[in-house]
């Protein structure tokens, strides 16, 4: 790719509420050309976008189950097409839940084991640094990012977990500040401390913590910025 600005699409469902934050960070912090995709927009072809972000929030109020209704929204059909063709899709928080509900990623999200909404900083350990979302990182890199969710307790059957492990598709795990993956550093009871996973081809990633809230020093951490830097690097170099 040349110097043309990278184009990002940000989906907006009724109840999305991290859309504006992602928009601002991509445009203002990383100088990309990001725009919104309204859930009813009939964009048949998302190929004009270099990548898609499904941001966090409470799509459709999270009624029924977190992400369940959004996953069946018309725009998701276009996103599925885009993803099956190898397009890069990042789902953050509720976006992760939507990807699971849409079947683009495997597993489900249960309520946090505290049964409470949890908003706090966590540390993440990078397990796979060879994906579009992590290529600006090194294996085992530690990232500090905030979580803010009620249903972030990742669960999948044994076979699925084995499949994820085989394909190096567990991208991030919750850990402590020393990088040790411990029970106490697991903020929500997530299986094996899983915080982020990808599909087999690693072009779709779901992540519970919020990289857009940790992309500027003044907010206490720039670590989340590495996710976006990785995507940019990957697109520029491909």
């Amino acid at each position: 790719m040349n110097n043309k600005k990278i184009k990002a699409g940000i989906t907006v469902f009724p109840g999305s509420n991290c859309d504006a934050d992602v928009y601002r960070v991509l445009n203002d912090v990383f100088d990309l050309s990001a725009s919104f995709i309204w859930h009813k927009d009939k964009i048949k072809d998302l190929n004009g976008y270099d990548f898609i972000v499904i941001p966090g929030g409470f799509s459709y109020g999270d009624y029924l189950r977190s992400g369940a209704l959004a996953a069946r929204s018309p725009v998701m059909e276009y996103i599925k097409d885009y993803a099956y063709k190898g397009g890069i899709v990042l789902g953050i928080c509720n976006g992760f839940q939507i990807l699971l509900e849409a079947g683009l990623l495997r597993g489900v999200m249960l309520a946090n084991d505290s049964l409470k909404f949890e908003c706090k900083d966590v540390y993440l350990k990078t397990l796979n640094a060879e994906t579009p979302f992590t290529c600006a990182l090194k294996k085992d890199s530690l990232l500090k990012m905030p979580i803010a969710h009620h249903d972030g307790n990742y669960f999948a059957e044994k076979k699925t977990i084995e499949g994820l492990n085989d394909k190096n598709a567990v991208i991030f795990k919750y850990c402590d500040e020393n990088g040790d993956i411990t029970d106490i550093s697991n903020p929500n009871g997530s299986m094996h401390n899983i915080a982020g996973i990808s599909n087999e081809n690693a072009n779709i990633m779901g992540l519970m913590p919020h990289p857009e809230r940790s992309s500027e020093k003044i907010l206490g951490s720039e670590d989340g910025g590495y996710i976006f830097k990785s995507i940019i690097k990957y697109i520029r170099e491909r």
Partner: protein, 752 residues
């Protein structure tokens, strides 16, 4: 209703009158020229309720300072507006939702948060932060865990879904709230100066439009319920509590702001207390107009609803607005996009009356003035008897404790002192990417993302001290304002304006009214001196409950609880100072003066079981100098931390400064010369709300820089006294306190 019977007056009759007094009922009959029917009675009872009419407080609220160079809109609209420079304005208000939250804590607190956010976006402002001030019964009361967990869940449920960060507030436990918890919710929003919308702009010929959720049977008589004390049958009042749907409110927010941006709205008011009644009458009144309201057009959840129930329903997530007839189609398209009702329900007319139509026929016509100009009382006032026994404390009459480590630990782990982290981590405080200093410290500091790369920001704080207000209402009122200002100044901010939420027992009790009047005087004095005008607010009376105590019924009243929400400004958020120590070896100073007055303190309560003493009075002139001095030191970059001295005293300030530092556990070694100062060591450690700050300064500060610090203090006439150093891991004060920081930290963070 039989007027003669009513006139004979017995207390049972008042219940039938929906909270109206017999005198009020008779006045309404005279104004109407006939006995009110159910519809009229419903409307009057809501609009003349204490909650909507401020009939007992209005006469005093008028005396508050409401003007200032930065105030664009003061009390009277949905919220107050302050100029933030560069074409931006900040819109904020705090409101109580006490009664519903006690009846049904989850929905009560959720809809409290929803209601206050609606007040803000009604004005055209996007909500950017929430605070809340909560009061629960004694920490050991069996019902307290239930209320705490449900209220916090309710607040999170609504605020988190709306995508508005909850960045701070207070959680206080006291026996006096066992039967009346308090939930005060604050929201601030940001708007462009030319993008403010008001309820007073209706023009003749505008159509009246109902937007948002349909009207159901919830919250009927909510305003009346909130204007009464509780009795033994509070569970029967559950139907008066509204049910919240934050998802719909999020859609309503986006739809309203989009319609406003497109200039499709002339005038707008949210349907809060007394729903369609207050929104229609108040909009008509403030615009000097009238309305036709067609009740057949009101979107309904049930066909079982009667006209008066439609008018009184407090179903949430609804707005009433006026728009030009030519704009309606465009307006409807916006609300259609968000999947919300947008229905023409009437028209603005010249005559100042509301003409209701029902089943396609004229139904009732009511004069706007008659309904809106409710009674105004100057209720009897009497100094409470108990205050005669509140005397200045002479601490020398009390024997010094043997073991200061024990009492220090008891204080730092007291529920009112211990960390509220487990509460605020249930709120999303990072959404919006604007929270620079999160909850848990002095004041929340937020940046503004659309300020064109500028570094300006604002600070928020909410505070109230009911125990001190009980012991000395004037001082308590003044302290609420001063304490907010201290927290804002300690971060390097300038106090700018306040909103007040005044929670009291029944105004019909002259002693309560005395507390109210004096607390308000205190607020007024401090607001004037600190130059923080009151731009919005709310009064909640009748926070009391009749209870059976061993056969006889007694009334439990809350302590008078004025709560202040304050906005401050800061030029550069990167220069904001946090209260915790930064590194080992830094020097610790007291900036200001110590009275050593332990009157009313937690120490007196815990150590001697008696806090009924006069608390420290605030010297407001000194306070202004002190805060200016501190701000000047911070602005020049000399301070590494600054913390005020609030509940629990200097020991708590020092300990919190040591253990709230992220990533490391610090401590301190402090030596205070009690002989020279003549202040007893317990007075030094535990006297509260001193006019002083604990600050820390880099040990490597050069000679000339140290001189500059002294010069600033001299310039303001403020004493600066070095008391020790920041250390690692241990807390030492004279030969009295020797504690491990880890142990204190563990206790502090594990109580709640």
């Amino acid at each position: 209703m039989d007027k003669e019977n009513v006139k004979k007056n017995d207390t049972k009759k008042t219940e039938k009158l929906f909270g109206l007094s017999v005198e009020e009922y008779n006045k309404i009959s005279d104004l109407l020229g006939h006995e009110p029917d159910a519809f009229e009675l419903g409307i009057f009872s809501a609009m003349w309720s204490e909650h909507c009419s401020y009939k007992s407080s209005k006469v005093y609220l008028k005396t508050l300072p409401t003007e200032g160079d930065k105030v664009l809109i003061g009390p009277g609209e949905n919220a107050g507006v302050v100029d933030f420079g560069d074409g931006d304005v900040l819109v904020f208000k705090m409101e109580s939702h006490n009664h519903p939250s006690f009846i049904e804590p989850f929905q009560g607190s959720a809809t409290g948060v929803g209601g206050i956010m609606r007040d803000i976006f009604t004005m055209g402002a996007r909500p950017v932060a929430n605070l809340n001030s909560l009061r629960f019964g004694s920490f050991s009361h069996p019902r307290t865990p239930y209320y705490l967990s449900e209220v916090v869940k309710g607040i999170g449920f609504y605020g988190n879904c709306m995508g508005v960060p909850t960045v701070g507030g207070e959680v206080v436990f006291d026996e006096c709230y066992n039967d009346n918890i308090l939930v005060n919710a604050f929201t601030i929003g940001i708007a462009k100066k030319d993008g403010i919308f008001l309820s007073s702009k209706c023009e003749e010929g505008n159509i009246v439009v109902y937007v948002g959720s349909s009207t159901g049977m919830d919250g009927i008589h909510g305003a009346t319920m909130a204007s009464e004390e509780f009795d033994l049958k509070k569970n029967k009042k559950r139907s008066t509590v509204q049910v919240g749907d934050p998802f719909t409110e999020k859609l309503l927010l986006e739809a309203c702001l989009e319609a406003m941006e497109k200039k499709l709205i002339v005038s707008i008011q949210d349907m809060g207390a007394a729903g369609l009644t207050s929104s229609s009458f108040e909009m008509a009144d403030s615009s000097g107009k009238g309305m036709i309201i067609n009740l057949d057009a009101v979107p309904l959840r049930t066909s079982e609803i009667t006209p008066v129930e439609m008018m009184l329903s407090e179903s949430q997530e609804r707005m009433l607005l006026a728009c030009g007839r030519d704009k309606f189609d465009e307006l409807k398209a916006v609300f259609d996009k968000w999947g919300l009702n947008c229905v023409e329900v009437g028209e603005v007319i010249k005559e100042k009356e509301i003409r209701f139509f029902y089943k396609s026929k004229p139904y009732k016509t009511l004069s706007v003035d008659t309904v809106v100009n409710g009674p105004e009382y100057k209720r009897p006032v009497k100094k409470p008897d108990y205050l005669n026994s509140v005397k200045p404390l002479n601490i020398s009459n009390y024997k010094m404790p043997e073991n200061f480590n024990d009492i220090a630990f008891k204080i730092i782990t007291h529920p009112n002192i211990a960390s509220k982290k487990s509460v605020f981590t249930q709120y999303d405080y990072t959404i919006g990417t604007a929270t620079i200093v999160p909850p848990g410290f002095s004041a929340a500091v937020l940046r503004v993302n659309d300020s064109g790369g500028g570094k300006k920001g604002f600070l928020l704080n909410a505070n109230g001290n009911s125990k001190y207000t009980y012991l000395d209402p004037f001082t308590g009122g003044a302290l609420a304002v001063t304490e907010c200002a201290r927290n804002i100044t300690a971060c390097g901010g300038y106090p700018a304006a306040i909103t007040d939420c005044l929670n009291f027992a029944s105004p019909e009790d002259p002693e309560v009214m005395w507390q109210f009047v004096n607390a308000l005087e205190g607020i007024k004095s401090a607001a004037l001196k600190l130059n923080t005008p009151v731009i919005s607010g709310n009064v909640s009376f009748y926070n009391e409950t009749a209870k059976k105590d061993g056969g006889k019924t007694t009334v439990h009243k809350i302590y008078p609880t004025p709560v202040i929400g304050m906005l401050g400004f800061i030029d550069d958020v990167e220069k904001a100072v946090t209260p915790y120590f930064k590194s080992e070896g830094d020097e610790i100073y007291i900036l200001g003066r110590l009275s050593g007055n332990l009157g009313g303190s937690l120490y007196m309560d815990l150590e001697y079981g008696n806090f009924m003493q006069k608390p420290l009075e605030i010297d407001l002139d000194y306070e202004v100098r002190l805060q200016n001095c501190l701000r000047s030191l911070i602005n020049k970059g000399f301070l590494k931390s600054a913390s005020d001295i609030s509940e629990g005293g200097i020991f708590v300030s020092l300990a919190e400064s040591a253990i709230t530092c992220p990533n490391q556990t610090l401590g301190f070694a402090v030596n205070y010369d009690t002989l020279r100062s003549g202040v007893r060591i317990d007075s030094f450690l535990f006297s509260e709300f001193e006019q002083a700050f604990i600050i820390s300064i880099d040990k490597k500060l050069s000679g000339p820089q140290k001189t500059a610090v002294s010069e600033i203090c001299n310039e303001y006439g403020i004493k600066l006294e070095k008391i020790g150093y920041v250390k690692k891991d241990v807390m030492k004060i004279n030969d009295k306190i020797d504690l491990k920081s880890d142990k204190i930290k563990e206790g502090y963070f594990s109580v709640i």
